[in-house]
Subunit: 308 residues, 4 copies
């Protein structure tokens, strides 16, 4: 199977929630248009940013169906769904649903309670899900900081190559550039290696990455497209300056408690996705006030995504 | 609320699976009788040993219903269900089902993808589930090696005491004896502290623990009851010798790849629960042969659980 | 070689420093008498508590000589010296010096920059130092939380038994009771297993430990002797209560920043050892005031060590 | 103070040892000429590669004196010495000796038994050593994988800037490119940020790094200079290919047990530095044979350093 390589910035959307914590599906069509207006090329739904792990299976299906529905006429916008949880049976169920509603691809991350002992066991897990949707591209989602699976991806590629026909690539959310470069070059660059650490995308570009999946592309896509453009014109000083701006923005995530800060940024760009569910901590009102002041100091208005 | 303290050995049953990986619910009534014949006082179902994380929500409910059905006339045998996954909504759903079919108690462990940042956030998670089944005892399941949540339990007790009326205690699967003793003594020993590390139960007895939940009580209950008896008669040399026997038995779990070895032990006592699901690795046929030989050297027959 | 087993409480002395950070050797004879008055049976010098790692080789020798000098007529008081650093050559030099000045035993901990890859490599290191002082008992110091060496001690015993004639035992500063019991029982309890976690000594007694090395025995020996006494009389409720008192005392170490808190306790019992050297953080004056108030609430006066 | 920025490849030399493990100082002049012939711009002695932690203080001084002696007329070749151990007093002693014999700079890494609790404590340690040699450039050596000190370097720069006049920069042996870029840009790029991960130097170039310190520059300098050249000519495909070659070479370090493999490479380029001291494991003769065969497959001859 020979899938088209994905390129450009793919957003990992937040899952919009109402004030009572229930799904706010009605925001999704607007969210999609917002991403398109900012040249985002696809969406990775129900991932970490999309807090898929905090949704029920039925809720994940509802999210999938809504994204499928509003993007179905747009063949250039690729929607990929994370199926992974700790139950392979659940993942297969969700993968098949993603296929049924017409999403472009599925993704899977290593089970994070019992963990695969090695690349062979991880490949065995991937194989079960990929085999359930043989016509869809399958992407492994590498995020050891959250799933605790430290198998090097070059080992996984060796295990799946020639064995899982629809294995299309890896969303790589880790800092092992040695492993990343080896994967990029594996078997004549056969696999899509989608960079997943927004704060050091510039480094990934120097190694040859062509596509990225991330959460800050939800609200600061122009910044990254400017950086890519500067890099391609070999204007490294500008690219470095823009990467630093991205770092300053991401540093505020740490300062304000982590992933939930992303939904706070979304409020600032006018796409209010609500709050995160437990166990994630959200900002208090006074923290949000202080956050807004910090964001203003960044000059966020100059590089943030804008509504159409 | 004032729950009766649980005492003695509570088994964490394996979930019986057929050769094709589907649930083998028909074995459960026999499994229950086997445990009763070996003086087990309760069952902690769908936990780590019961590979709850690898089951779908529906499958967990099916397991719950079957255990409820075959134990409903036995008020001395307490069945507790682990509801925990990463989705609080799922946990509440399962807790309410456990209540509906008449199980004794529910348990919950910290979400293990996004992790609670501190005791306060962990208590907030517990509160949501406990509040859904206010008439049932609620037990927190502390197992940092698997869920990655390192909040000391004495901090959790401070957060929930007086706040969650049906908080009944903790299944404590960790080696922090300092924390464990402080929890045991907290508020006049108000809470049940169920020891969860079979390989050092003797040490927990010296600190005053009265009940334990574990996987090796499934197949070696007589060994532990003999040890408890020796301890209570202040016959420490015998108790230490028996604890060493338990350690030798548990050392084989490490040698043969971990948790799946438990199901191999079950085959030897005649209660065949099948194999573990992915991502857990099972023994090969030749490993099983070697395992049986090692088990024979232990003198397993002399202290294993026996069928009625 | 058949060494006498060490029993009772062995103190790990703080190294007395002057206000300018230089060695205050003149305090050592008084320190020794203080320990004796509180029934301490030996001293483990230049260990973690003694901040040996922050001393120069010459300073370690000066400390060794001073302890040797003031204890040489007291054959019942055993002084053991930690030789370990990251350089085996340095360790051998110090071990030979310890022998020359007449100390009882030497100890060694795994190098903590480059780390031994397995039990075999760790045993190879031990062998070099032990062979330099073949007449002295050699004790391995197991403290993975500081040296990062996670080799199970039962594996080390298998590697050294019959190979290192003067291997006498292990100072065990870790919570792996499974490993500890197996070591205690190894080869007919041939080796001394000295417990090194004061906060859960009671659990170690139930497993059969007879001696302990720790820092809180410097200033609260009566508490622990009362606990041992209660345990030996099978008065577990009292033993548990005393262990809790020890835990409350140790909890203040965490609250006030760690190991330097020990020197603050020493000031309260009238043996002023000064402050810790960098990189350890000492209390500020206001923290010390707050600390004293917390200590008073513990009822420290009732169980602390007292000057003769 | 305004130090000249270091550029190009700085080697971290192995410490030459004789077969009996003693220092082989006589090889050092030849080693220096070998590095010069391969355009190496300096040497970072007694670091991790130089196994400084396994040497005695006197041995470190002997190594320092020998390097100073053979490089003293070469002002373009900068020798920097790692002073760090766990004793600040030792580090000061060594720093002053380095100054006395005329080395260019000193370096220091966080104590690795007791660890600095935060950036402030780490800065306090740096200050003591830097103040002892106020005329010499002082470089912090950031290598959390070995010293366990995870303080972000941007925090350290904030603590030392304006406080330690001779703080000149950081040897950065870690993969946190976000932190690295922020340090590079700190205070108008005031500080030297020397890259320390040979396997992903290409990524560091894209962020603007101008100098690097590493172990593989000892034996494969031409490979890296070719890569830098390709990068500067914006020929990324070639640069990526050369970085992959470096990765393949470094992958053999993992395969053959780690750091000692570096000395095996040195044998292949004709500069025999002997073996590593304990606790490091060296290759067996049969492993060395297999290693040589793997190295041949890499085409090592085409890019390795060559004798003058």
């Amino acid at each position: 199977m020979n899938f088209k390589h994905l390129t450009g910035l793919i957003s990992a959307p937040f899952t919009p929630l109402n004030e009572d914590g229930s799904l706010n599906l009605s925001l999704i069509p607007e969210y999609y248009k917002f991403l398109k207006a900012n040249k985002i090329t696809g969406a990775f739904i129900c991932g970490s940013t999309g807090e898929g792990v905090s949704l029920t299976t039925q809720e994940k299906k509802d999210v999938a169906k809504t994204w499928a529905s509003c993007t179905k006429k747009d063949k250039d916008f690729k929607v990929m769904m994370l199926t992974g949880g700790t139950s392979i049976a659940d993942s297969i169920d969700i993968a098949m649903y993603a296929q049924k509603v017409g999403l472009y691809a599925v993704s899977f991350t290593a089970p994070y309670y019992f963990k695969p002992a090695n690349a062979k066991m991880l490949a065995a897990c991937c194989k079960e899900i990929a085999a359930a949707v043989p016509e869809m591209p399958f992407y492994y989602y590498h995020i050891p900081v959250l799933n605790g699976c430290n198998v090097p991806m070059i080992q996984l590629l060796h295990e799946v190559d020639g064995i899982i026909p629809n294995f299309a690539g890896i969303k790589y959310t880790h800092e092992d550039f040695m492993d990343f470069l080896s994967c990029l070059r594996f078997n004549n660059s056969k696999y899509d290696m989608l960079w997943g650490r927004d704060e050091n995308m510039l480094a990934s570009l120097s190694l040859g990455s062509k596509g990225a999946v991330g959460s800050t592309y939800n609200y600061a896509a122009p910044l990254y497209y400017d950086m890519i453009d500067a890099f391609e014109k070999n204007n490294l000083a500008t690219a470095q300056e823009l990467q630093q701006k991205s770092i300053d923005m991401i540093t505020l995530l740490g300062k304000y408690g982590g992933i939930a800060t992303g939904k706070a940024y979304m409020k600032l760009v006018g796409v209010d996705c609500g709050e995160f569910r437990l166990p994630v901590k959200n900002m208090s009102a006074s923290e949000f006030k202080s956050f807004k002041s910090d964001v203003a100091k960044l000059g966020f208005k100059k590089f943030c995504s804008v509504k159409p």
